[in-house]
């Protein structure tokens, strides 16, 4: 019989709520992996242009539908990372110049090469990229995921899309959070008619099918609006519905916390309402909010992706995963160029990662909840 190993009592007794939550979280390997993935994605979003190879907006109809290119690491036994160049071929039927991969022309691949210009962090102008080709013609490049109909590099577009798709998710969640915590908090703390009113409002909002509503609102946005304006409008639209879930969680927690002994003790000690909320209640439900937020993010991201996929969300020249997937709508085209679906991969990964992360935080925050 083996005895059960217990952590030293002292450490447990002195750990704060946050530390305890973190320790419990660490034990869920899946959640930790998800956290790493999420962090990597956001890092990718920050360094998007640095990681991209070819200018995501550069169109060149001559190199449309190039299949994905592999970077070969060896050339006749020597370590020389390189990629095939493109050669122009006259299409016999249309007489147009069309570019196709030419394995004979080998273009060396190097790190930190000069590529298209951009602003690092939006401030520092530079043109260094992580990888790129040395030499070659203007039409060449490293097309890791191929090109689309307009000849744009899908890999670079994918990376840059990450920035928009993830940040809209984040912005939307922030809005929902503010609205949700405010209304849910009022509901839970004060109860009575105010609570009933807000509850009913939440039920009404939840009963309405969201996509038709969003479609209607999104379609009403004037064409003349700039990309940024549309961006904010879309963010607002998709957060109009998801605040309900956050409000529910907040209300539930406040209701439960109101009855807790330590809150009553604080009230009896004469603490002001605000102090009680901020100092005593907030730490208890912070992790629940983090969990709910983490679970709301993928919903936001999918919402934006769906809307943009329909053509009603963000509009070109903005790049998001939804916009990328728009090109994949036609099955016949897709059959000839299946790499157009590659935007599906980050979408699925992000959804899974945020869900596991949210589950992990929720379990860590309240193992019995």
């Amino acid at each position: 019989m083996t005895a059960i190993v217990l952590t030293s009592d002292d450490r447990l007794a002195e750990a704060t709520q946050l530390q305890l939550t973190w320790w419990r979280f660490r034990r869920h390997r899946l959640a930790v992996v998800s956290l790493v993935i999420v962090v990597l994605f956001y890092l990718g979003a920050v360094f998007a242009d640095f990681l991209a190879v070819v200018d995501p907006h550069a169109t060149d109809a001559r190199r449309s539908f190039i299949p994905p290119q592999m970077i070969s690491l060896f050339d006749n036994g020597a370590f020389l990372p390189h990629v095939g160049g493109l050669k122009g071929v006259r299409d016999p039927k249309t007489f147009k110049l069309v570019y196709t991969p030419d394995p004979a022309r080998k273009l060396p691949v190097a790190l930190f090469v000069r590529g298209y210009p951009y602003n690092l962090f939006g401030l520092i102008p530079t043109d260094r990229h992580l990888i790129g080709i040395v030499g070659g013609q203007g039409v060449d490049g490293i097309f890791l995921l191929g090109t689309d109909q307009l000849g744009r590099d899908l890999f670079s577009r994918l990376i840059v899309a990450t920035r928009i798709s993830l940040s809209i998710g984040l912005a939307g969640v922030v809005f929902s959070l503010m609205l949700g915590i405010l209304l849910g908090g009022i509901s839970g703390l004060y109860g009575g008619t105010l609570d009933t009113l807000i509850q009913r409002a939440i039920e009404v909002v939840r009963s309405i099918p969201t996509i038709p509503l969003w479609m209607g609102l999104a379609a009403a946005l004037p064409n003349t609006w700039s990309v940024t304006q549309v961006y904010f409008a879309i963010t607002l639209i998709i957060s109009l519905v998801s605040w309900t879930e956050l409000a529910r969680v907040t209300r539930g927690r406040f209701l439960a916390l109101r009855e807790e002994d330590f809150v009553i003790a604080a009230e009896l000690a004469g603490a002001s309402q605000l102090r009680i909320i901020l100092r005593h209640m907030l730490p208890s439900f912070a992790s629940h909010i983090i969990a709910a937020t983490s679970l709301a993010l993928p919903v936001m991201i999918v919402s934006e992706t769906s809307l943009s996929f329909l053509g009603l969300g963000l509009r070109p020249p903005a790049i998001s995963w939804g916009i990328l997937l728009q090109d994949a709508q036609n099955v016949q085209v897709l059959a000839g160029a299946p790499w157009l679906l590659s935007a599906a991969v980050p979408v699925i990964l992000v959804i899974l990662a945020f869900n596991f992360l949210g589950d992990g935080v929720r379990d860590a925050a309240d193992p019995y909840g």
Partner: protein, 330 residues
């Protein structure tokens, strides 16, 4: 119990009212009014409208009155069944929508049924035979449903079907029945085609409900009344189905309360991908063309039908839970 039903009915009515207001807002959102758009539309076709005619139209539609009055006029018309005329099709909106609304409901409702029929047994099995092979398969299926948004799933399925099976996946009817009037043959054709879109639509909801059922049943299985049931000497199957499953049905039912709006919503996008003759593609067209009466009516009717569907599942929940029946509250 009557209290509960009355409350839900009142709430449903309020929701419908809210939807009508929202729809009206959407209709009036684009710059200019209906008459401007009408004139523009006619201009494309080459005809013109005189200033007097325009003014007369404005009077008829009450466009010179305050917004609230316009809303009242519009609602009055709606309640008598007059939903206005579609600009694109130049026919009454109801004609244009035709069967599509019912087909949307058919797809959404079959997805709902499919969700319950699949999620319930799998969820129960998953919990009762924890860590078995079946449990892992169910969990994996759950992840797929969780991770892949429904329109993406539809897209992938279409691609796979086309690429590897050479068939055109999608549509609700074979071409010969598509435009034909309703008959038993057409009905059967619909039944044959429903499972695929219904399943694509249902997968996400199914995955979620399986997780909920599994988690709740696992909790219930540990409770004392289950031991009592087993101690009576009844079979394990009966003991599990009659007692803990009944208890776990409550959270299951309340989670599925808002499933229907979610499914209706999802059916819009899925039907766009799969090319189903439902309301989805029509709505998109209408919105892009700013055919506001058509778009608005679709949104309104969709909303109202969804509210009715949700009310039905609420009443179902009430039937399951005796505590509500007897005490008037959960």
């Amino acid at each position: 119990m009557l209290n509960y039903v009355a409350r839900r009915l009142v709430l449903a009515l309020i929701t419908c009212a809210a939807i009508s207001v929202l729809t009206f807002v959407i209709i009036r959102l684009p710059p200019g009014d209906f008459v401007d758009a009408y004139i523009a539309n006619l201009a494309v076709g080459g005809s013109t409208v005189s200033v007097e005619q325009a003014a007369a139209m404005r009077l008829e539609y009450g466009l010179d009155r305050p917004l609230v009055v316009q809303y009242g006029l519009w609602m009055a018309k709606v309640l008598t069944g007059d939903f206005g005329v579609s600009m694109m099709w130049k026919r009454p909106v109801t004609e244009v929508i035709g069967d599509r609304l019912w087909l949307t409901m058919a797809v959404s409702f079959s997805a709902l049924l499919l969700t319950w029929v699949i999620a319930l047994p799998i969820g129960i099995y998953s919990a009762a035979r924890q860590y078995s092979v079946g449990d892992y398969i169910a969990t994996t299926l759950g992840f797929i449903g969780l991770a892949i948004p429904n329109f993406l799933l539809a897209l992938i399925l279409m691609y796979l079907g086309f690429r590897y099976l050479g068939l055109s996946v999608g549509g609700l009817f074979t071409p010969e029945y598509a435009q034909a009037p309703w008959s038993w043959g057409k009905f059967w054709d619909l039944m044959v085609h429903l499972p695929l879109p219904a399943m694509v639509l249902a997968l996400a909801g199914t995955a979620q409900l399986i997780r909920i059922m599994r988690a709740n049943l696992l909790d219930e299985l540990r409770k004392p009344y289950v031991v009592t049931a087993r101690a009576k000497g009844i079979s394990e199957l009966r003991a599990v189905l009659k007692y803990p499953v009944r208890a776990a049905l409550n959270p299951f039912a309340s989670s599925s309360a808002y499933l229907f709006p979610y499914l209706v919503s999802g059916s819009i996008v899925v039907s766009l991908v799969l090319g189903l003759p439902t309301v989805g593609p029509l709505l998109l067209q209408a919105l892009v063309a700013q055919d506001m009466f058509l778009a608005g009516t679709i949104v309104l009717l969709l909303g109202v039908l969804t509210v009715i569907g949700t009310l039905v599942s609420d009443l179902l929940l009430m039937w399951i839970e005796p505590r509500i029946r007897l005490q008037g509250r959960a």
